[in-house]
Symmetry: D3
């Protein structure tokens, strides 16, 4: 339909946006769509095991290291804007103050679509709390009486990006995005994540297999569109179209 110009990613921890939608970010940035990434936390307590195993590590040092990695990855993906809310992790503090900050960002960005975590994640409640938080903030940003005079939000799609162990998360992708043109950028961003090297090949495998799913659904054995790497997304809201 109308050309999208901005998008917003809400990432619970500072690496999530890389594994889960790095391809989507790079692809849309290449097409002139500015993507803002908000990292609610650095994943400093819960997703930095490798750093903490080092001698003499401190919370500040872990945060700094994680921030560096995330900024490098964002640069590799061509992200136009990355913000760190630093609200703590395991658990995230998603109270009223964080909510207001996020609503401010949403209103400023006016995203045509948003991306965040899955609805259920028994391994990592930060993830599912972030999804609920994204729904709350989207709703508040639409309210004419919240900071009256500001431009209110429309009705952007909220895509849930791929969680780890998808089947345990009640996550079912309804959209496969071809990220072949930007795969090199995604892999480069992935390799910025020094602390989680055990996941580099894991998410390369995921991207290749999602490429297979793309091909299967775009034409199958009779010859679908070629696609070597893809990402999957689950839509929360229905689409509105002029043609099926």
């Amino acid at each position: 339909m109308s050309a999208n110009t901005t998008a917003l990613v809400i990432s619970a921890h500072s690496a999530d946006f890389v594994w889960r939608c790095g391809g989507a970010i790079a692809l849309h940035q290449e097409r002139g769509i500015d993507v803002t990434v908000v990292c609610l936390s650095y994943g400093e307590r819960g997703e930095s095991a490798k750093l903490w195993k080092q001698e003499g590590m401190s919370l500040a040092a872990v945060k700094a290291a994680r921030r560096d990695e995330a900024e490098n990855a964002a640069a590799a993906l061509g992200v136009s804007d990355i913000q760190f809310f630093d609200v703590g992790d395991y658990p995230l503090d998603l109270g009223r103050e964080t909510q207001d900050r996020m609503v401010d960002v949403i209103r400023k960005v006016q995203p045509q679509f948003m991306l965040t975590h899955s609805q259920w994640d028994p391994y990592n409640t930060d993830h599912m709390n972030t999804m609920r938080f994204a729904l709350d903030c989207r709703m508040i940003a639409q309210a004419w009486g919240h900071n009256p005079g500001e431009k209110v939000l429309g009705a952007p799609q909220l895509y849930l990006f791929e969680p780890h162990q998808t089947e345990q998360m009640q996550w079912k992708p309804d959209t496969f995005l071809d990220i072949t043109p930007v795969w090199d950028k995604k892999r480069a961003a992935i390799e910025c994540m020094q602390g989680q090297e055990h996941l580099w090949d894991y998410y390369t495998n995921v991207a290749q297999n999602r490429g297979n799913h793309f091909r299967r659904n775009s034409g199958g054995q009779s010859g679908g569109r070629d696609c070597r790497y893809a990402e999957g997304f689950q839509s929360v809201f229905p689409r509105t179209v002029d043609q099926l």
Copy 2:
């Protein structure tokens, strides 16, 4: 993506295609996409109460009357091709022979997308059996070893159109189609259904309310696209896209 050129509707009874996707049919026909409608039965036993209440009615007469109505409705919608399989209803005979006929049609039409009934319908098992039948036939049409030499089917989307009492049918629309430009055609087709006049206003209400849903999802209170009439569809398979 690529321009669609053909579509296929599989309708359990001869009136279903009108209520449930008449707008989609008319809209795509207007845009040069040829829509083939297959009516598996006339609904002669189970959906013709008004006719059967007449004195001296026979099965042949009911079928003829229902066929007339369906052909008139198809003409009103601009359907390029309507076929009647006449396999009986309540229950439909969906055995191997009907399957082979349907696969032949699918292969001939090579639809870019297909439409049929919901997955569950405890009121009307013909409807849910038709959905399973559509999956069977789509699969067979993709098989290189079925009538080798014929052109095999690709991987068309299967849309499930709106059932009666949606919430009882586990049906959740993920796509709203704006049918405002062709509403007059749909209403005209609806009025061809002389035997089911009690449903004319019902499905007009549905179309108006789906229009509200379209607006809510295309922009909401901040000003979505206008849309006065819409139809809803549930996709069975994921979409493959180049942009979110």
Copy 3:
């Protein structure tokens, strides 16, 4: 079974009780059952777009206007008691204090049945938070050790009234209530909602179509009970009966 004498509606915003269960309220009031309506908020921030589009509007003025509308609607429905908790909206403040106020009301009313929002609503998290809040408060009101000496609550049914875009809300009605005798009152109450005129016909359509569902389930083509307007409800708890 035993005659009900009181009922309680918990409405997130001040208009919800009108669209979603105005018929049930009017019908039971006519039969001598006193219905108490609690509006947790006026929907002053999130559901008053039309007011906010006016020049020089203030929060106080929006609240006053919304309160007027709600009181007028309540009067049209014959509501015996309407209370405004004014806890803010988008989001609602449903903390311990609000909880205690609500438990006090529940204990005072001793409702034979309660009505509130659906369990899931990704568009409007106030709605689904209200459902959880209602469960919390019902439970506390049953506790013998909460304000010992007060009369504890029995085990009233909790009906979930109809949300907007039912299929997106995982809402499945199991009970249709014939509101034909009080339809004029419901329409009058609806027309009190000056700020949401775009929904008047929408909910009239809903009522008519639920009437169709009532007829279909009370007898179908063989001649069900007539019913021109109905409302649908989903029960949270099982019924206890002496006869099927």
Copy 4:
């Protein structure tokens, strides 16, 4: 609403009606509602292990023994009519001929409500096939064009009675029926099932615990209606009511 006068039970094997709805049968019979029980099979192959362990047993002898048990149980419950379709079990033959026989019975009985098995049963596919079969037959019995001239069926509720290992069957009761007044009859009927003595206490436990559920839902700790034995049922279709 209107007084029910007849009911119909569709039981896959000849003992199912006893364990699963013997109380409902006896209770309604006592109140003048004639209950017809159709046993599709004797459970002669799959549910007669104890008989088959006897020396020199034959299929005919098993059937005769099972029929005796079922007739005795039916007598104990006061069943007005019990019919044995004898279509074989493990698996049942539910083809077109069985369907036509069942539709004839349904039309003759004109039940105000029907009872049958749960929708899912991975242990016993006869059970879930019977549920689908009941939906098929109910639909056909409603068709004006099936044996025109006969009285068509209205829209009776279909209750799914309690399966073994409820949680594995996706069965969720929404209705608890107090069977205390007829418990002695149910226990007597249960004791007619000589071949399945290991289930006598099992279903007594079930009835007692369902009594607890009845009390919990009719008033809880604040004093619900007393009830010592109950049965649970899941409704397939919504109820239509004049009062909540």
Copy 5:
């Protein structure tokens, strides 16, 4: 696999661990596995109706009585450690402080498996809140950056024990544990619950019927393992095995 040496039960109210997993506790204790039970509250407000019906009862007296019962029951089961968090009930206070206390316990115990309430419970939101709380705490206990230097938690299974009215709780057991060898201990513990005598036979019935389910799944009619009493559990996480 490797021998388990410790387990942890998180019980919302002080009696829950008895009804729901008393057998599992006694059985594992007998085998040298130390089980720690944390009672978040005494159930002093919501689950002590019988006590509150006595003249002149106070909150402190109810708590003391409930604590005595729980300690007696724990002794009957051979529990190695029982702790009372006393965070209030109806509702529980599960804020950051309670979370930190629980994480400390988890880290100290280093359980090979954990047990807690079901994911959904509309009757008792304390129960479902406890399940979410258990997920939160398990996650935090795994975080290397939470109290760095402490031993972090591995990936213990979280079993959801049997709720009351299982079918209303979306609870589906995937594991049946034979508790026949310790049934006498469980019954003794049950009888310590003087205030809830109405549940003694209820949970005896449950244990007997779960024994039937054990036998059915361990061999069925062809001769499964004998088992007279069992408990059922639902696993949250997948198992990792070396053999199917």
Copy 6:
């Protein structure tokens, strides 16, 4: 519990057993458990696109080629017995005769556990029909009155192996099996599938990523069991255990 000695795989098409449970087969065979594989069809029509694209191909030639591949793969896995039912594919003929043949095999093998396809597969209805067929046959094999005198089946677990595009199939693994010791055999078997080379790396990726899931669930960041390749399975029936 007791040592398993035999297992049975029911594979819709002749390659399914390789991709989906080749590791489980090889692993158990190495441990002395005899695995019987039944291929209902060769996948000759629907899963042999590459062969059909060759000039002058015939159905007989496709079947022969597919059989060779399957036998080679079975040999690579050390399968003790592989049988080809040759009932046709797309669709499979799963009528009474096929059922009887399968029941004979089940009774002869007396498997301690069985493996087959997922419950839902809209891409490939052969797969989901096979799952239902497996349930039917398991039930019949348990019937004392089916071919009286034969040894009846106990209550073996039915594992559903990994489908393609797991999230579309409502498949949720609850068991991860470490297949590292036999990975070379599985890869060798995979490479026997000359006609489906596009899937070799796909299923290698799957095995590696399931290895990650194994590690995550066996200990996580605190040091789970190492595992480089795994397979996932969903259990249909509950487990019966003596220890959690």
